[in-house]
């Protein structure tokens, strides 16, 4: 079990650190930009919605990189480190680790180059490169990578149905918020079409196209006496995460 999968409702935390900025250090923008570029150059895009001509893009990048890969990295962290490091520090660790483990760069050359920039932060970046790489990244931003795949198969649940969230086996990656496991809610909406996920999550159960539902949960059914009055919680649930509610859960 991973703390990162069970953040919702975790108790005894501090007051909110209300920081309205998107980036708090200049360097954070660069790792954000690198991540977006990787998503826009990912080799899976040839098969995704807009059928990007990804094979013809003259980049040396030949891996799959999606949100799922970034999230898996964050979910693989020591739970204390997950709280210790700022958002983009986690990205930097995950992304630089990926380029090393995939053999694009070595840790030694990264450290050597970093030592140069630490010594002289004003050293310029290299210039040049094939503009078709940038065109593809911007095209990805404009056209996206929808997980929706048609045609709609008949969904197992309908609006108003009572459903109980499965307690699927713990896994390296999930889209099931831990606080909803085992809880019973009501289907508020059936999303149109079927939705895949970037990767198969194995025994967790998502990946292949399936119906998705907006499910309404009463906080008292989740938190008991700790629930705040006058609130409702909505989750967006893949069909693989749901069972029909049993009679006593109705």
């Amino acid at each position: 079990m991973k703390l990162q999968h069970h953040l919702g409702g975790l108790e005894n935390l501090d007051t909110i650190d209300y920081e309205p900025r998107v980036f708090v250090e200049d360097w954070e923008q660069r790792i954000f930009g690198i991540h977006v570029a990787m998503m826009g150059l990912s080799d899976h895009l040839g098969d995704s919605g807009p059928r990007y001509p990804i094979d013809g893009v003259p980049t040396a990048f030949s891996s799959t990189w999606t949100w799922a890969d970034l999230r898996k990295g964050a979910e693989a962290m020591h739970p204390f480190a997950y709280f210790q490091y700022r958002y983009y520090e986690k990205w930097l660790g995950g992304i630089s680790g990926f380029f090393v483990s995939e053999g694009y760069i070595s840790e030694e050359e990264l450290e050597a180059k970093a030592a140069e920039y630490l010594q002289d932060p004003a050293l310029p970046l290299p210039e040049g490169g094939d503009g078709r790489i940038d065109d593809q990244v911007i095209r990805y931003l404009r056209e996206g990578d929808s997980p929706r795949q048609g045609p709609a198969e008949s969904p197992a649940f309908d609006i108003g149905d009572r459903v109980t969230v499965k307690d699927v086996p713990p896994n390296d990656h999930t889209r099931l918020p831990g606080n909803l496991r085992g809880r019973t809610g009501t289907v508020e909406r059936v999303c149109e079409g079927n939705y895949g996920y970037f990767c198969s999550t194995g025994p967790d159960g998502i990946g292949k196209p399936m119906p998705v539902y907006i499910v309404r949960f009463e906080p008292t059914d989740i938190w008991g006496e700790l629930a705040e009055p006058g609130a409702v919680l909505y989750g967006e649930m893949y069909q693989a995460y749901l069972n029909p509610a049993t009679e006593e859960q109705q």
């Binding site: 040396a60 180059k113 970093a114 990578d145 606080n179 906080p219």
Partner: protein
């Protein structure tokens, strides 16, 4: 909570990311312009101004407001906004509207899902594990802590972005805005109000 950090924490990260970018350019993964072009896209095209324009239209056109909640992508496409509103992290936009008796709050307990094309990139507080953890269980306390004291009679709907939908809030139109143009109204709308941690303040008299 206090953790220990190296003294040159930021300088070391800055050097490491610059080294990574330099190596990726040298090896032909990206170009010398890629990162700047990505950042420019979010500075010029995909900003909270898009969301503000959508909200202002909803305030001035009740039929649009209805369509916006019912079929958000189609309604958004009616407006003259930059190309890409249904692009990355906007593929499945979903608006939820505040009313006198209902207030909406968008969160993401598993990561930091956010409707980029309408709101730009998420602020730090939204991505912070403490906010994500606490807003799921005690959203009213959290809202009050950051400045929004909701009346107990208002139903608070919390939307956890665990799937493909990217939620954003249509806040209520503030008092004292009769006769204002769509442009003037859009200028009042804040990012915070479209995530649901604030209301739109009435214009200064």
């Amino acid at each position: 909570m206090q953790f220990g950090y190296p003294e040159n924490r930021e300088a070391a990260s800055a050097a490491r990311v610059r080294a990574l970018e330099a190596l990726l350019i040298e090896k032909g993964v990206i170009t010398g312009a890629t990162v700047d072009k990505v950042l420019g896209y979010f500075e010029t095209d995909m900003t909270p101004l898009n969301g503000a324009k959508i909200v202002a239209r909803a305030w001035t056109d009740p039929e649009f407001a209805e369509r916006l909640v019912k079929d958000t992508p189609a309604a958004v496409a009616e407006l003259d906004l930059p190309i890409g509103m249904d692009g990355a992290e906007g593929e499945h936009l979903q608006a939820v509207a505040n009313t006198r008796g209902v207030h909406n709050l968008v969160i993401c307990t598993l990561c930091s899902c956010f409707p980029w094309p309408v709101l730009g990139l998420p602020p730090y507080w939204y991505k912070d594990p403490t906010f994500r953890a606490r807003a799921a269980r005690e959203p009213r306390v959290v809202l009050k802590e950051i400045g929004l004291d909701l009346d107990p009679s208002v139903e608070l709907r919390v939307w956890d972005s665990s799937g493909h939908s990217r939620w954003f809030v249509v806040p209520q139109r503030p008092a004292g805005t009769d006769g204002m143009s769509e442009e003037e109204l859009a200028a009042l709308v804040t990012t915070e109000s479209m995530i649901g941690i604030a209301e739109v303040p009435a214009p200064a008299a």
